[in-house]
Symmetry: C2
Subunit: 119 residues, 2 copies
């Protein structure tokens, strides 16, 4: 599970981490800030942040003794690109289905579909 897309999806599969991301989309937070609403230890929150950081979803700078957490926008594009590619294909497929149905009405033979393997 080393590829980034997998890491991003896995990071967002956890509701706590998803909530953190949502809050970080409003403003940067310190670890303590971030941990406040959740009923888990600070160490657990620190672990969650490591997961988000490894996925490239957040970065952390240093500011005196605190380490503000900042959300990175670019990585979301990875996901949306993957999803959009699927969507285009699904749309194209429904289009082909329409063609088939139209073809049947005209008495034509349906077009053949070809396979393809992608990451």
């Amino acid at each position: 599970m080393t590829d980034q897309l997998s890491q991003v999806f896995a990071a967002l599969a956890d509701p706590t981490r998803r909530d953190m991301v949502t809050r970080l989309s409003l403003a940067d937070h310190t670890v303590n800030d971030l941990a406040a609403p959740y009923d888990v230890s600070l160490q657990a929150v620190s672990k969650h942040l490591k997961v988000l950081e490894a996925a490239g979803l957040v970065t952390r700078t240093r500011e005196a003794q605190r380490r503000p957490v900042h959300l990175e926008a670019e990585v979301f594009d990875l996901m949306t690109k993957w999803i959009e590619r699927y969507r285009e294909r699904a749309d194209a497929r429904y289009q082909r289905l329409d063609d088939v149905l139209a073809g049947l009405q005209d008495g034509d033979t349906p077009p053949t579909t070809q396979e393809e393997a992608i990451s």
Copy 2:
């Protein structure tokens, strides 16, 4: 991890499952079909399909002794909605940042930001 959004993200965190989804966006497949390219047992593929099905990403009908797997489009909307909501917020935040910078140039005080907790 019972909520559907978590299940969808978790399901797509696995490269094999993501590849299955991509192939299913081109056409329905039987389990055997689907398993062919991967170097794992048929039972492992069956388990992957159970994960995708639980997440609502695929449905399965019955057709003689095979069970064709079909990709369901609607669930992707859950994800895109969540991502888009984040994106709107991030955009709004950058807008606020622009306002702050503009305000500083005008000698105004920056607007305060308010917190909010969401799933």
